[in-house]
């Protein structure tokens, strides 16, 4: 196991290096001049040229690439054109909000997806099954911006059950920043009012984002549960005299989770990127919104930094998925022959 982990982490470094190279060259072929975007539409040509020298875009390509690589190897992602701060600082500021939202959304989609999937498999072709199918169809096919607005209209504007967009009530003071996750920071500061308020703020955007992942999870749980429930070992569990809910949870669901974990990993990656729209609608000060602005203003360093972060999260999530997969499925050994890598 530790050997496997080391192997995977080393390969992760290569993956990231590869991504860095690819993003560098992609940023070169963008058919727009980022400097013109910084300087503004009315700027004279010499201002643009001065900026070009300032940012080193006048150098030959291999020199630019050399600078880029040496900069990255020091962990320097460069300056953001839009905020005028190092990109890394921006990421550290904005990423936790996104991560918090995506995690809540993932929890919502896992819990509801597995529940729906299990119930629709156990009560196959009943009204529960049909309801789950329609519900997850709505989940995938409703545009996030529309659903977000409608839910906000109902639960915030009309019913006033849930708070306004944003992470926290403006009258509340954010607790001291330790992790950047409001829920955790407020727990550390033992500020229950902030914790409750932050949680309430998470419900709507978390559900809208979570609904996106729910459908895929519910579908794979349903189909693998149906497969597992007809297996002989499920009959064995009943013969042993086990109560039906335990047969389902202890014997069937554990087996059905093996294929589900893969889908959950993909969903989490999707949630991290897919938060862009949700964050925009719910005024969520996260990385999605930061990156949207970066794309719109051609803030190259921010785009490259954000891309690398998303790619890195994907790789890490994949690693976790593979570890979980091996944990759930004893037929897979990570160190021996026929391992996953």
């Amino acid at each position: 196991m530790p050997a496997y982990l080391l192997k995977r982490l080393i390969s992760l470094i290569f993956t990231i290096a590869g991504i860095a190279v690819v993003t560098f060259f992609i940023s070169l072929v963008v058919p727009l001049d980022p400097l013109a975007a910084i300087a503004g539409p009315q700027a004279p040509q010499e201002t643009v040229e001065r900026l070009r020298v300032l940012y080193g875009f006048d150098q030959p390509l291999y020199v630019q690439f050399g600078h880029y690589v040496s900069r990255l190897s020091e962990g320097n992602l460069g300056m953001s054109f839009q905020t005028g701060r190092p990109v890394l600082d921006d990421i550290i500021q904005f990423f936790p909000a996104t991560l918090e939202l995506a995690t809540i959304a993932l929890i919502i989609s896992i819990v509801s997806g597995i529940t729906l999937g299990v119930f629709s498999a156990v009560y196959r072709n009943s009204w529960i099954d049909h309801f789950a199918r329609v519900f997850s169809l709505i989940g995938v096919s409703m545009p996030v911006f529309w659903l977000g607005l409608v839910l906000m209209l109902i639960f915030y504007f009309k019913l006033d059950w849930l708070p306004e967009p944003g992470r926290l009530d403006i009258m509340l003071i954010e607790p001291e920043r330790v992790t950047g996750f409001l829920l955790m920071d407020s727990l550390i500061a033992q500020d229950w009012e902030v914790f409750y308020d932050a949680l309430m703020h998470l419900i709507l955007p978390g559900s809208v984002l979570g609904l996106f992942g729910l459908a895929g999870i519910a579908r794979i749980v349903r189909s693998s549960m149906l497969d597992v429930l007809s297996q002989e070992y499920v009959k064995t569990a009943r013969i042993k005299g086990l109560a039906e809910h335990l047969v389902i949870v202890r014997h069937a669901l554990r087996n059905a989770l093996v294929p589900t974990v893969t889908v959950i990993g993909l969903t989490y990656g999707g949630l991290l990127e897919g938060s862009v729209l949700t964050e925009t609608i719910f005024s969520w000060p996260g990385l999605g919104r930061y990156l949207t602005t970066a794309f719109l203003t051609l803030d190259l360093n921010a785009i490259v930094g954000g891309t690398m972060l998303v790619a890195m999260s994907y790789s890490l999530v994949n690693l976790v998925v593979d570890l979980l997969y091996a944990y759930l499925n004893p037929k897979i050994s990570l160190d021996g022959e026929g391992s996953l890598s």
């Binding site: 297996q231 070992y233 005299g241 109560a243 004893p330």
Partner: protein, 347 residues
């Protein structure tokens, strides 16, 4: 016109299963058990009035070809018929207790504790993601609530040892895919006998195993069952296994028991035409130059409810009556009965 000659032998009445005439109460009494499957293509009349007894401490064999209802009978005893199947009527009395109208919670206390079952494919019957020791311990934990998990695991290990698994402590931490078929079947036996059940149903326990291992598994099962003084319902299509291990045997055809009796009687002196045919199909009974015998015709469709003797269309001895009535079970010897009008006049 032929005059009806009054028979010298008094006509014997079909055995009236509703009266309790037996000297000792059997452990398991199945009466008129009917199981139907409500499929989209129509109703399958899978069991049409099965009558069967399993005495205390006896091994009862059930033989018959694929689809005759052997396994369904076994599953019906445990009330584990999967939908769209349903137990329509009948009684299953176990140790003086009627099982078919028992509360599901009470029924669960019987399963695994007093009636256990071993299945055909041992490696498919073990949960692939749970260590085998824990699977054995689980049976104990379900039925003995005052047992601690560690004590159950300890007992499970002892049980694994007594079914002949070497290095039981280490093996109990293995997963099913790491075991051979024979080992897995030993685990299965351990799992099902660890609670010392009174009745063990063995549904073709050796069919999926290597021939070399079959005998070992059969011997092991017999030894353990004798030790526990339990009864066995041995489902098999291997007449050799039945002849060797069973005290009595029931022959099933198309959803009902056609002949029932002591193994030596049924196998050496078969009385029902189907049993006779079945025994003739065995290769050992054919002389060298003779083609292998097969019963002519096909197994009848089970989509129709039984209204006649279901074997009649294939039977050499069938009379008009066989197509109009369902034959009752007639005594053809001591503790030996056959469901055929040929024996209406007794032995």
């Amino acid at each position: 016109m032929t005059e009806t000659v009054p028979s010298l032998i008094p006509k014997s009445e079909p055995i009236d299963y509703s009266s309790t005439n037996n000297e000792s109460q059997p452990l398991l009494t199945i009466r008129d058990l009917r199981v139907h499957f409500y499929t989209l293509r129509g109703t399958v009349y899978a069991l049409e009035g099965v009558n069967l007894d399993v005495q205390k401490e006896e091994t009862m064999g059930i033989v018959g070809e694929t689809g005759c209802g052997k396994s369904i009978t076994a599953r019906a005893v445990l009330r584990l018929i999967d939908p769209p199947g349903k137990i329509v009527s009948g009684t299953v009395e176990f140790d003086g207790q009627e099982l078919l109208n028992l509360h599901p919670k009470e029924m669960r206390r019987i399963r695994g504790k007093r009636i256990s079952m071993i299945m055909q494919e041992p490696r498919m019957s073990l949960n692939p993601v749970i260590r085998v020791g824990n699977q054995v311990a689980e049976t104990l934990l379900i039925h003995e609530s005052d047992l601690s998990p560690s004590a159950a695991r300890k007992k499970a290990e002892e049980m694994l040892q007594s079914v002949g698994i070497p290095d039981a402590g280490k093996m109990s931490k293995r997963y099913p895919h790491e075991l051979s078929g024979g080992m897995a079947q030993r685990v299965m036996i351990a799992m099902m006998l660890v609670t010392r059940p009174k009745l063990l149903i063995a549904d073709e326990p050796t069919s999926a195993l290597d021939v070399t291992i079959q005998a070992q598994i059969i011997d092991l099962m017999n030894d353990l069952v004798h030790e526990l003084q339990s009864s066995v319902m041995m489902i098999s299509h291997d007449l050799g296994v039945v002849a060797e291990t069973c005290d009595r045997v029931a022959v099933m055809y198309a959803g009902s028991v056609v002949e029932q009796g002591r193994v030596e009687d049924v196998l050496h002196n078969p009385r029902h035409p189907y049993t006779k045919g079945l025994l003739r199909t065995l290769p050992d009974n054919a002389s060298e130059n003779e083609d292998l015998y097969s019963i002519k015709g096909n197994v009848p469709s089970l989509f129709m409810p039984q209204q006649q003797c279901r074997f009649a269309p294939r039977c050499e001895f069938s009379q008009e009556r066989c197509f109009q009535e369902i034959p009752g079970s007639y005594q053809v010897g001591n503790n030996h009965s056959a469901a055929c009008f040929l024996h209406e006049n007794g032995i």
